[in-house]
């Protein structure tokens, strides 16, 4: 699977050209936003955080010495940035107890760690979905968005409902092996 390609190898950003960096960006952007959103619960803020991270990485690529995989490095950086964002937000709106409840105090710097199984699964699913043929990917994403009916997805994409169903079946079949891994992790969540 494409996602597994360089997950655990240390990366030297200074040798990448812009095109290669773009590939790296596409590979990790959504996943890192997801990680940030876990903390910030705000997609816009999460996108800003991740974009900033990629800009800074690019600007400082010559001096960055990343000893772990890019995924691990990026995950820690983005999480820390997200926590800092929360810190600023909680200062900005002191009334919001919800965000300060998730706020882990002043010690916002998380230790460097490899992404855990759940993080890795998310990355693999995102990568798998992005590797789907364009129409199939669109059908898959639209069907999830706002719980759109298949007829609505079909109208949106200008294809028949049966074609939408076919795309979804093939998409889920593609993810099947990943989904098997998902089950033990989310089983409790499903039972309730």
């Amino acid at each position: 699977m494409a996602a597994a390609r360089s997950n655990n190898d240390p990366i030297d950003l200074s040798v990448l050209d812009r095109k290669e960096y773009e590939l790296l960006f596409h590979q990790y952007y959504q996943w890192l936003c997801l990680q940030a959103c876990k903390i910030t619960e705000d997609w816009h803020a999460s996108e800003d955080i991740v974009q900033d991270f990629f800009i800074k990485c690019w600007q400082n690529r010559a001096s960055l010495h990343i000893k772990q995989s890019f995924a691990a490095f990026a995950l820690v950086s983005v999480r820390n940035a997200a926590l800092n964002y929360l810190k600023k937000e909680s200062i900005r709106s002191k009334h919001e107890t919800a965000s300060s409840a998730t706020f882990p105090g002043d010690e916002t710097l998380l230790p460097v760690a490899q992404p855990d199984e759940t993080d890795q699964l998310y990355l693999q699913i995102i990568t798998a979905v992005n590797n789907l043929p364009e129409q199939r990917k669109k059908a898959f994403i639209l069907s999830r968005q706002h719980n759109m009916k298949y007829a609505e997805v079909a109208a949106e994409l200008g294809i028949s409902v049966n074609t939408v169903k076919m795309h979804l079946r093939l998409a889920y079949q593609e993810l099947r092996n990943l989904l098997k891994l998902l089950l033990p992790l989310f089983y409790f969540f499903l039972k309730k």
């Binding site: 952007y29 959103c37 298949y150 079946r169 099947r176 499903l190």
Partner: protein
């Protein structure tokens, strides 16, 4: 993989996935166990809000967005590139400058390999000359052994370690025709006890001339260099110190007179003195902790308030530095230890020092102290101490 798909009605699962969640729960009961397990996973992926949210993000658009941000930051990048050039240019300048500095530094005093460490070169450093006493008869006596001698008029002179003392003759005032001169060269401090009991501390590179017995009318001495006086009080017997055409008249007091260079500094510690510049200039009456500075060049006299103690610390071999420049310090050390000091760079002369320290007899030790507490270092070239900027500071 194939085995599983054969037993699974995917179309049914996809249809079911479209239904509202509560309906799914009911209808899922009709599925096989295998189908139920798979459906649970599909449901879960579909209902994972984080995953749904993430998949909706437009990475391509985001990439364009950050490239725009990057371009807006482009001037910074251009500066960054220029910065590298500047570093390279600066490095070259630095190397050239260092080369030039090394060249000038060592061409001042000769070849580089003639530099010695202060510890080695100054370990057994001795002043070149010894303290001398010139008697009334013109005889020069080197004061290196404790002994005693008699002047023509029978006055006993005790020559001790570091002190010349005249037999107390306060009540036996005689004629002041017999003049003795004590010459204290660079590298020594010396004490003198005059025949009236007054004490004089003589700094290095100083000279004092005085009568073996003072005149009835006044006690008159002449000094060059620097001396601190503790004069025995006598209202009717003024004590007058002549220094570089100036006269300081005292009755009984302690004060310091410094005449190195082109200025005469008279500093009063206790009592009172009348400082009289040459010519028709007005005399200045000093009170304690005040100082007159007479400019030999233009004949002007300034009076200022000082901490008198700072100006007499030298007599105890203490050094008090108040905004003392390295040039002044070097001049003082030259006198105190009879050494030659030169500067590798002119700008080093302006380094200022504040603080106090005790001067020991070892110049090497003193210089080591200064090296440790400032950005300078010392080396010795042809018996001259050279002050250099410290390495890597």
């Amino acid at each position: 993989m194939q085995k599983e798909s054969q037993n699974i009605d995917w179309d049914k699962l996809i249809d079911l996935l479209e239904k509202p969640v509560d309906e799914q729960q009911v209808l899922a009961g009709a599925l096989s166990t295998e189908e139920q397990a798979l459906f649970a996973r599909l449901q879960q992926v579909k209902n994972d809000q984080l995953l749904t949210g993430a998949l909706q993000l437009d990475a391509a658009k985001a990439w364009v967005h950050i490239m725009e941000k990057e371009d807006r930051a482009a001037p910074v990048r251009r500066i960054a590139i220029n910065w590298k050039k500047w570093v390279a240019a600066a490095s070259l300048l630095f190397i050239a400058g260092t080369a030039w500095w090394l060249y000038t530094r060592f061409s001042i005093n000769g070849a580089i390999n003639n530099l010695q460490t202060v510890e080695k070169a100054m370990a057994n450093h001795e002043p070149a000359s010894k303290v001398q006493l010139v008697t009334a008869g013109g005889q020069t006596i080197v004061l290196d052994t404790a002994t005693q001698l008699r002047e023509k008029d029978g006055t006993l002179i005790h020559l001790q370690q570091g002190t010349v003392a005249y037999e107390n003759s306060e009540h036996a005032k005689g004629d002041a025709s017999l003049i003795n001169t004590l010459i204290v060269p660079r590298g020594y401090l010396y004490n003198l006890v005059l025949s009236d009991g007054s004490k004089v501390w003589l700094n290095a590179d100083s000279k004092i001339s005085y009568p073996v017995r003072f005149d009835k009318a006044e006690r008159k001495v002449t000094i060059e260099g620097e001396a601190y006086f503790e004069v025995v009080h006598n209202d009717k017997w003024p004590f007058v110190v002549h220094a570089g055409n100036t006269a300081t008249k005292v009755l009984g007091t302690s004060f310091n007179i410094k005449t190195y260079g082109k200025k005469v500094y008279t500093t009063l510690v206790t009592g009172s003195v009348l400082f009289t510049p040459p010519g028709n200039a007005k005399a200045v009456k000093l009170t304690p902790d005040h100082q007159t500075v007479f400019n030999v060049g233009n004949g002007n006299t300034e009076t200022r308030k000082v901490f008198a103690g700072d100006f007499i610390a030298w007599k105890d071999d203490d050094l008090v530095m108040t905004k003392m420049t390295l040039a002044e310090l070097a001049e003082m050390l030259e006198r105190r230890y009879d050494v030659q000091i030169s500067f590798a760079e002119e700008k080093l002369k302006n380094i200022e020092y504040n603080g106090a320290l005790h001067l020991t007899n070892s110049i090497a030790e003193m210089l080591k102290n200064f090296e440790q507490t400032s950005n300078i270092q010392f080396a010795v070239k042809d018996k001259t101490i050279v002050i250099l900027p410290a390495n890597g500071k």
